[in-house]
Symmetry: C2
Subunit: 321 residues, 2 copies
């Protein structure tokens, strides 16, 4: 059984590194830190590396201050690569993989390249954290509060707060076990989801004031101009979730976010609720994406860009009528 | 054991009514409908009554169309009163209680008056739905998809999406069991939480544009004037959650929502994040509430009211500095 095989590796080796993908998220951070916590408890020498800036949002996690940027010339006997389907997404940390005697690749993404010496891939797991929980339990490692906080964060964030369809009965059972350690999960939840900057709130008010409805209120458009960022003291990243505000309006099928990049050039994000394949709409303008979330860039003046988009969306709406 | 005692009542009686509190919420609706589903499966005659308007948000729930407003002169052998601590909160349905041979009072509120012939009170349960789950399992009633959807809704809403501290390991285990019936829980989640009206979104933009920060950005104030409701085509209820937007700003300890009711009269809502007892602030103006959520009415002109509030909040901030 692979769980016990990895347990044996943890017993046999002593010099570990843990790496994960760039653009770190709750699952990659939580996974790294939970495994770090377990290896430390087992008196192992272990370092963590991430070739990116750590999100402030997850700085509350235990041991997060021990994650370091990539350091040239380091070499480890065993490297754990977590939540990362493609070694290219490790950034510079890829080098640690190529130098290691043993690479343990633990992930839940179906696209995983199986680049490890040992590959523990479970595409039915909600998150890499969920796989690690199984690993820890199978090897009788003690899940203390620190470890539980990290695993809870992994699972919470990769399931969107237990609401995505990747959440299973097993996921809920595991979370039940994790909170029984006595972690302050309401505080963790708030730290992650219930926080905004003043600038972000000001920017939201400005962007939402541009709300425009089309095609019998089945399309909702929001727009953002560079001046709004300046006035509100926010950055583009602060606007990343605003499109959900328009998508969540009752009766809306397609939500459009129009972001002016430079004069006459607009970055477009598209979301659909139930039916329309927005990837096809984005592809019409040379973009791409998924069925429910896609993007493209459109040149022209603002009103013309809006009309072009609505006309194209109309064609895809007509099909479903 | 009370579970089996209630099971016997369900076996012995045949003529049931189910009632719950006015201002129905997800737990009261989900509880009523899950019990209705079980009684129907057991071939019992059962009616449901609610002395209030049913929230559109929960109209997707199975059997919700069977809930009726109170009808004068009806009489039932056994009445189940669910999620309701005080018979006065049943509105006109209180009459059914006084006429019934047997009243089964099932609730999780510590304030429950124990007004039933049988009282099943579990203050450690996250929701009445969680208590009903135990009741159904103990009596070997089959929890089918309909029943599971209702119980999931009960638990989801009373735990604020599994984030409040009333959520326990047991809660998570139960939710795991409920979703194993194959219910489309991501759709239920979205139906309840991810929906807004156009008017509500327009109103939010207007209200959030009034954002005012005070006391070194530790106090965030939002204001709403009657004209905003008219312009956006929204109603007061649409604004009920806006105060969370300001409370969730990083560094904010106290959030204030100022709602102009009539000229020179303002309804004030107060929320605090971690430390300040806002009830004390509300009491200073003749209002009341809880430590983290309170309210009061203040008379005067807008700027004066704001200054009065900030001055009072400052006193309570100074204490914690």
């Amino acid at each position: 059984m692979i769980h016990l095989q990895i347990g044996k590796i943890i017993r046999d080796y002593n010099n570990f590194a843990i790496v994960s993908h760039t653009s770190p998220d709750g699952d990659s951070m939580g996974s790294m830190l939970s495994l770090y916590s377990i290896l430390q408890q087992n008196n192992k020498k272990v370092d963590m590396f991430l070739d990116d800036v750590l999100p402030e949002r997850y700085s509350f996690l235990p041991f997060s201050e021990a994650i370091r940027p990539f350091i040239e010339g380091k070499k480890y006997d065993c490297v754990f690569a977590l939540d990362c389907g493609d070694p290219e997404r490790l950034g510079k940390c890829k080098e640690l993989i190529s130098k290691a005697m043993m690479v343990v690749n633990i992930d839940h993404h179906i696209s995983n390249y199986l680049y490890g010496t040992i590959n523990m891939l479970d595409i039915n797991a909600s998150s890499t954290g969920e796989i690690l929980y199984d690993l820890f339990i199978s090897n009788n490692y003690e899940i203390n509060k620190d470890t539980a906080e990290c695993l809870y964060t992994s699972i919470l964030t990769d399931t969107g707060g237990f609401k995505y369809s990747n959440t299973t009965s097993k996921t809920f059972r595991i979370v039940g076990d994790l909170i029984s350690t006595g972690i302050d999960f309401p505080k963790i939840y708030s730290s992650i989801y219930d926080r905004k900057s003043i600038g972000q709130v000001k920017l939201m008010s400005r962007v939402v004031s541009t709300l425009d409805m089309a095609l019998d209120n089945r399309v909702a458009l929001l727009s953002m101009f560079p001046g709004m960022l300046k006035e509100s003291g926010a950055n583009e990243e602060d606007a990343s979730e605003f499109i959900n505000i328009s998508r969540d309006i009752d009766g809306v099928e397609v939500a459009v976010f129009i972001k002016e990049k430079t004069n006459q050039s607009f970055r477009i994000s598209l979301r659909s609720k139930n039916v329309v394949d927005v990837r096809k709409i984005a592809e019409r303008f040379g973009g791409g994406g998924h069925i429910r979330a896609a993007g493209c860039t459109v040149e022209g003046n603002y009103e013309m860009v809006k009309t072009l988009l609505i006309d194209e969306i109309k064609k895809h709406m007509d099909v479903i009528d």
